[in-house]
Symmetry: C2
Subunit: 237 residues, 2 copies
């Protein structure tokens, strides 16, 4: 399949490139064991993540100024700790746990696929994570980004158009030259409306064994794949 | 020598990492030969570069909105072509020549040194070049940046404080954890005033065989070196 004039690939990251759920669950389980807490790390991770979309809504609606995802994550973490009726011993401990999102492990195909794609295309993040989160995660996980785009450059959150459009603009490219890659149909839909090319990567266990959404491509995205390596195959990289 | 708590290195690029003068000169000489122009590529490059600092002044003074260096370069190129009384045949030719700044060659020690430094530190640009210029140059020259910072994120130009400070802020670091690296004393001076660590790399032929400035470190910068590899040595990378 041809690459249709694509010059750059931009990526959703949480769920598409990294497996946030098992990464967060493992650290929470280890912490719970050390603290003597009785809780399930995967449930804790799911609850924390459930507060993710709502936490960005005031910014998207223009009701609050942009805040970094690190800060939204910290607010959400305090809520979840209260719900579980557990507490950390210091702000340093809280900060360390909050930064578990900087220490997420990639899906097994992500680094091999991205390494191949990087030889042919510009690779950038198009995530709602802030720059330092994305940079630290890249160092931790070995993700070979050329640069970080997404929420912080645009001072807003996907699926607001400004986030996608600022990314293409900073790359000096028309949206039609940029391939938005995600495991989430709604993310691809927002990008397609703006003229971006689209690639779906199926991640059937992002939310665990009983995942209820994004279990299939829900539109005729330009590329529909099961892994980053399959995407590299289809793009001739 | 210890790394003094440094987590990230940020780099001036034109002159410090890449040899803009001989790169631009070579393309201009080739173009001149093809067009039958009688001119010296190195002189042309020097003249084009001489318009660089003045072109940014209206933005720094707050008299004009931020414009990308690609756009300032294009304006300056039109001036230089007029001075030489030569013309290109199309806007496409002009655009191609303007983007010679995306195709600059690194000094021989840059890629080996950066590759070592990347294993221990976050590496980012802190250039007045725009994001696409920096990304395309990195792809062309093999520069292993973790991300692009500098003028476009801050919508201003060095040595305005906001450029350096936005970079540290986006990395989630205090300036004291960031090492500004440059072949230009004035750039290091601006960063040091803000609390950044500083590293000087001597580039005695940036402006050719008769270079009149930056021929030595003019202050007690934290690191004073002759190459990127020597900087890696001193930082234990």
């Amino acid at each position: 399949m041809a690459d249709q004039g694509v010059k750059a690939l931009v990526f959703d990251v949480f769920g598409t490139v990294v497996d946030w759920r098992t990464s967060v669950a493992a650290e929470v389980d280890a912490l719970a064991a050390a603290k003597g807490w009785s809780l399930d790390g995967a449930e804790f991770a799911a609850r924390w993540r459930a507060l993710y979309q709502p936490s960005m809504q005031p910014v998207r609606r223009g009701e609050a100024p942009y805040r970094r995802l690190d800060d939204l994550h910290r607010d959400s973490l305090r809520v979840v700790l209260q719900e579980y009726d557990v507490a950390l011993d210091s702000e340093e401990e809280l900060e360390h746990l909050n930064k578990v999102w900087h220490r997420l492990h990639p899906w097994p195909d992500s680094v091999p696929g991205l390494t191949r794609l990087k030889k042919k295309f510009i690779l950038a993040t198009m995530s709602n994570g802030n720059v330092s989160l994305m940079v630290n995660m890249a160092k931790f996980a070995g993700l070979p980004w050329d640069t970080i785009l997404g929420s912080e450059p645009a001072q807003n959150f996907k699926p607001k158009s400004v986030v996608y459009l600022t990314g293409a603009d900073w790359l000096g490219l028309d949206p039609s030259q940029v391939l938005m890659t995600a495991a989430h149909n709604h993310d691809l839909g927002a990008a397609r409306k703006l003229g971006f090319k689209t690639a779906f990567i199926l991640r059937p266990t992002e939310y665990g064994p009983n995942q209820h959404k994004d279990n299939e491509a829900e539109s005729d995205w330009d590329y529909i794949t099961n892994s980053m390596e399959e995407l590299a195959d289809k793009l001739g990289a």
